[in-house]
Symmetry: C2
Subunit: 85 residues, 2 copies
Amino acid sequence: QTPTPPTRLGLCAACHGASGHASMPGVPHLAGQRLDYLRDALKQYRDGRRNIPVMRAAIGPVSDAELDALARWYSVQSPQPQGQP
Amino acid sequence: QTPTPPTRLGLCAACHGASGHASMPGVPHLAGQRLDYLRDALKQYRDGRRNIPVMRAAIGPVSDAELDALARWYSVQSPQPQGQP
């Protein structure tokens, strides 16, 4: 049921990991997060309501359809990191 | 290693669940989220950088120490909902 990795996944994966398990300070895990929340947060980062320059730079040029594919991808990833019970 | 439930947990649990598994539309899961991210997000909600009235109302009166206890609590909850493998 996991969809095909979105075209723009690399943009997110650099910090959040391809499966949504972040290892950088201050960067949230995204794996298994609610889809509606991810969609809303992405819109807020893109329009500046959440004013985080690196996020705005990353997703500024990303289309609505691509953002949706990214949100869907992360929402269906397992919230448990691999290798942990 | 799970800490004692924070005094103000009920404030968060109403929407995010006591163990951080949200069931309300648009409300993020918090279980197992990175502690540094949770701390930062809470500060942004409290000072209005993330302008979400319900969050500002909820945590406006909460002290730094209490916010920290809440962030710690959710960061150590299991990201996998109970009853799922």
